[in-house]
Amino acid sequence: MIGSYLLARRAVLVAAAIAVALLPVLFSTYVTSAIALPTLWVGLCAASLTFLASYGGMVSLAQTGLFGVAGLLTATLSVEAGLDPWLAALIGVLAATGVGLLFGALASSSTGTYFLMITLALAEISYYLFSAVPAFGLHEGINGVFPPRVLGDPVLHPTTIYYFILALCAAVYLFLRYLVRTPFGIALQGVRDDPLRMTALGYNVRMHRTIAFAIGAAIAGVAGVLSAWTNTRISADSISLNVTISVLEAAVIGGLFRLEGAWVGAFALTILSIYGPAFSDRYATGIGAIFLAIVLLSPGGLVGLAAAVDGRLRGLLASRAVPDAMGPSPSPPAAGG
């Protein structure tokens, strides 16, 4: 029993991995450009939030503001000033990191909901600033923000950029997984658990939080650049609080305490917002209801839910397997599960 369950489980995971790896080949251009690309960059932005929330204890609503700083600068520099897109992107991400340092320094003395409020205020102030300053051209939006030529056309030929972004997401994911096992990352988790204790252990807690926030800002900045590239435009709507809430929804629905949840949530959200309208005009209410249900019933999100169901199933099947436990013992859980 349990053996076949584990086999099926592994088969699903492998199938999912193959689907992700060969997505542009297996699915249409539309699926790649309209579903896969948004999933990847929304997931990346959500991952920056999940990283801050799960390892730093900071639930930030400023991620789209920082995302906007990078996206806007990239768009303005490459479209208006004719800069090389790579260079424009680099400057954009560095600027987002710098603003992240500033925001982090301002917000890092607060925790919990006060931190949430302060980051919300900072994000909204950035939004109004960007909308008001004509130089950013946000009012009408900046069109024709194309990615570097080598990545191809994101709408008509999204294969190259898909693999580029997929690789980038994988790199960020692996980097964050690595980061949380470094001295910096372990100390960050200590700061999350008890700032006062960490101070007593010799750590400069505010600096630690600020730097972590800047790392989150850099990742959000990358997501902002990718958003501008894949949409070939950026506008005020791209950085409004609605987007902030979407990113929060993705992170929470996927699972606020697991990095991979960010992409799971982004996928769920993208599917819902593309196919939802076909079922009902009120699909946003549906998303809100799912969000509410997750917060109330399964704080671990979809990933947490899946892990719980998996654990329960395995427990159930293993206990059924007890009578014939004389035979070979059940195989250990699938690697990477």
């Binding site: 001295p183 372990i186 204790r197 252990l201």
Partner: protein
């Protein structure tokens, strides 16, 4: 006499008009085992907070290791060789026992922002595991601190101070909430510390406090009332009166 490890001069702290610590002068010599006793509200924990830098004093000065640290943030004092425990266990709930102790060891030496692991981490991990053995947590290394029992959390709390290999350790009611057997283990641990370490302990359990301490300071209403050896303290009528509530004049 050698330069004292702690020297407090005229140290005061008041919160909204309440004088928690009033004009305290205190010296602790290197290697000493000192107990700070007194009834509730005597100002013992506030005194610890002032020494460790968790609170800023309203007046007076704090010297540690011969250096004025009155306005030095808490985390810098730790780097000088100070370690403390809290009355309420403040272990890092989401991290394993080993990571807790590793962070304590790392905190005292620096390199907190390092993004690579190196040979130093191996040493620090080694030190973390040694500490775990000393505080009887060697078989719980991988367990998240939140899964520990209360007694084990108290052991880890002391372990966090031990792993930093400090020159001065402040222990705030380390025996609080421990069973009798656990208290004996704790006493043994405290007695096993080397003389290069100076120990200051707040403890209501006299079995622990009087076994460990060589000198006792009695606080009452934010002031130091008596100081002496345990025998002198036991013989002191004022102490007896304070504990039985016979003197209430502030």
């Amino acid at each position: 006499m050698a330069e004292p490890i702690i020297r407090l001069r005229n140290l005061s702290k008041s919160f909204a008009g309440v004088h928690a610590v009033q004009s305290v002068d205190l010296e602790v010599a290197p290697g000493e085992r000192r107990a700070v006793l007194g009834p509730n509200g005597a100002g013992k924990t506030t005194l610890f907070n002032l020494i460790a830098g968790a609170e800023l004093p309203s007046g007076g000065s704090v010297e540690l290791f011969g250096r004025d640290v009155t306005y030095l943030p808490a985390w810098r004092r730790t780097r000088l060789g100070l370690a403390r425990t809290f009355q309420t266990s403040r272990v890092l709930a989401g991290l394993s026992v080993e990571d807790n102790l590793y962070l304590a060891a790392l905190g005292a030496v620096g390199g907190h922002l390092r993004l690579v692991r190196n040979g130093r981490d191996r040493e620090l991990r080694e030190r973390a595991r040694r500490t775990a053995e000393r505080v009887a947590l060697a078989d719980r290394l991988g367990a998240p601190a939140r899964d520990l029992s209360h007694g084990e959390q108290r052991q880890l709390e002391v372990g966090l101070a031990v792993a930093a290999e400090p020159r001065l350790m402040l222990l705030d009611e380390p025996a609080a909430g421990l069973s009798r057997a656990e208290r004996q283990l704790l006493t043994q641990l405290l007695l096993s510390f080397e003389r290069s370490l100076t120990l200051v302990i707040i403890e209501h359990d006299m079995d622990v406090a009087l076994t460990v301490a060589e000198r006792v300071t009695i606080m009452h209403y934010g002031k130091i009332v008596v100081e002496g050896t345990p025998a002198e303290i036991r013989a002191d009528q004022r102490v007896h009166d304070i504990y039985l509530g016979r003197t209430n004049a502030a």
